[in-house]
Symmetry: C2
Subunit: 493 residues, 2 copies
Amino acid sequence: MEKEFLQLLKDQSAYEEALALIFWDLRTKIPKNGVDQRSEVIGFLSQKIHQISTSDQMKKYIDGLKNTSQNEIVRKSALDCEEEYERKSKIPDEEYKEYIMLQSKSESVWQEAREKGDFSLLQPYLEQLVAYNKKFAEYWGYEKNRYDALLHTYEPGMTTELLDQVFSEVRKELTTLVEKINQSNVTIDPSLMKQHFPKDKQEQFSQEILKRMGYDFNAGRLDETIHPFAISLNQGDVRVTTRYDEEDFRMAIFGTIHEGGHALYEQNISKDLAQTPLSSGTSMGIHESQSLFWENFISRSEEFWENHYDLFKSIAPKSFEHIELKDFYKAINEVKPSYIRIEADELTYCLHIMIRYELEKALINDEIEVKDLPELWNQKMEDYLGIRPTSDKEGVLQDIHWSAGNFGYFPSYALGYMYAAQFYHVMKKDLDVNTIIKDGNFVAIKEWLSTHIHQYGRKKKPLELLKDITGESLEPRYLVAYLKEKYSKIYNI
Amino acid sequence: MEKEFLQLLKDQSAYEEALALIFWDLRTKIPKNGVDQRSEVIGFLSQKIHQISTSDQMKKYIDGLKNTSQNEIVRKSALDCEEEYERKSKIPDEEYKEYIMLQSKSESVWQEAREKGDFSLLQPYLEQLVAYNKKFAEYWGYEKNRYDALLHTYEPGMTTELLDQVFSEVRKELTTLVEKINQSNVTIDPSLMKQHFPKDKQEQFSQEILKRMGYDFNAGRLDETIHPFAISLNQGDVRVTTRYDEEDFRMAIFGTIHEGGHALYEQNISKDLAQTPLSSGTSMGIHESQSLFWENFISRSEEFWENHYDLFKSIAPKSFEHIELKDFYKAINEVKPSYIRIEADELTYCLHIMIRYELEKALINDEIEVKDLPELWNQKMEDYLGIRPTSDKEGVLQDIHWSAGNFGYFPSYALGYMYAAQFYHVMKKDLDVNTIIKDGNFVAIKEWLSTHIHQYGRKKKPLELLKDITGESLEPRYLVAYLKEKYSKIYNI
């Protein structure tokens, strides 16, 4: 039965690989007239995957193998498939289909609503999506909080109780820190960064840094896109995409490093797990810990630029030449409350996440209504960041997540920060990280991450992985300490 | 039943579209470590297509619809599916599987054999492939000649009898012409062409010409590859690939135009045929007529360069500046017997094809043996082209076709030339082609091709299409007349 099960997993993985290539192509290469029919292919292949994962055959293998197989990979794959089977099969077919159509419709309405800054267009769709998600949470079940059932999709094992506790601690510390920074007399000139930097030169620098991080170009490539992402087609083909802004190189450079962090994770999962569901990152939060680790902890550090500033200047246009390293370092770490999450700095970013977390949790628990979102959003922005959006375009309409039905996803971003800080704390005990960063040879860092995190794929659940590495559960104090230390120095506070 | 049949065709087309993207990616973008697992995906999806096309369900729809459906597209699709069903289902499953494995093994052996110039490595594989093809021909059946059954796969309706007749006529004329050219006192300096021409500039020129041909970049793209091809993913996404040689721009420019001709065909098939088997070119030969028409009849013509030479010079490096148009025109039309088919000029190309045709026909009819191929090849090269390969690398080992089991394919290339000349003859009655080419606005030409050829897809069989357009069957005299006229002028004979 093991052989048949593994074959079924291979079939599923073949569909997933074809779909992954289609998604990559859709976001990087496809000519516009090809999109309509390609969408039908996506629907067709997705349906095939759905059929396999909810098939009687799958159920039979799961029941026959999850507890008794002597092969750990088979056992854990069966357990993974069981979760998927349960989640999917608990939703009646008709409802699932309606929901898929609603999602797709709602995403396109969101585009229009955002362009027009008109929340009322999206509101009826969001109301339905929230209603479905509440219903799904009830189908799936939960112990204490309905929101836990949704959270579980993205971060298995995470609970609202734990999040409330750590987020409240982090929020208090961060808002205090942001206030202090606002009052600091250190001035940072971000206009230093906004000088023309040709795309091909940015690409050259991005590729060089990816190589130095240990990203394997024999098992991946770098392409241009509008909304950057990394995607694993198979373990030998994990692609990175980035976006170039010729008037602000930071988007491409830090974006590439961020996606490179995701890609390193997928490239270094144990080959033994190939073509099973275990061969991917274990959760959104752990994935984000890898991207944020490289983007912020490494590539926004002083040590990193001590080494790489010469390389940067050798590739950047002459107009960057007069910028001193210390000013450059400050400019790439400027803290400034802003409206848009994806443009937020390292420090205020988590506050953006908490706003979304609090609102979606309240929606799912019937504490607020969809129609009140714009006002509540703006109020929280004022409370946490001290600024108030003047339109919903730079407020509640900025993210695609809710209109895609993704409730419970946002916390992963903040969890990623916290996990990264916890991992970094342990890594620093094992390695002389600062020296390594200064030397610009990241092999030891990459190896550490692969040994402790990457290789396991989904064999370990996020909190299990965290515990194995750090001996602790989620502990926000490492992130707070890291941010305090870094920004006290930069802002002289 | 029609609805269900069309749905089954859509499913099949979805698999084919996913596969087409995988092939495109495999030849343009994939990092090398991704290839192994991707090959499994190709196997998996191909098997799904095979299953659909040989399913009982398919057979039921075919029988129920091929004669009685009121819908022409349904009827012709059913007939098309019937051919596929018959061809595939007449081969026992076990043999089919063995053959697929043999093909794949043989292709990789061919690579090694070619590199080493050692035919003996490939010989046992070729012997098996020939044996299978003979057996398949018997399964499929034929009227007069066993080779007809193979020919039919690539050029439905074509017969050995007809080919023998036209090829012998063309061969006589061409060899005479080549002999005369060899004795001509006109000298052409091909070294004019071999000057450095940066890749990005070649790409710029290629893209510009594709646009002028009427290739729609909203429904396609141009990428780099090693062995250029055009591929239709769907009607809104037909991609062209090309290869750049910075020391000889002719490869990319004429190669792009050639593939652009294939792509125009696929881009302009009637939308009504989408997601049915009728939505592709009707045969290899007709397809080749489209690529060769643009590559040779149009873009190697004097009129073409009268218009485009300014554009060429504005993009080409300064070192091309001193070349006069008349010398340039001659250099891109130099006739010179050479060993390698894909590097052959417009005039000797057909002779290369005839050598292959005669040999493969003899193999299938048990008139020669695989072991004798190298010697027979070289002898024919001497007879038809007056040169004798000094190694099998530049002889019998140069093409992949036989090692991939493709017997009956080669004639399509020569047929393409003849079809193109016949179409061109009629087009010239309808349009003032020379003026159009000189004006560089090819819309009318593209429209003519779309109206008479492209739109029909596989709704018309090749000889039916030829008859409808020209009122004639295959007539080699148009090609001969075209070549005589063109080359008499160039070589002053």
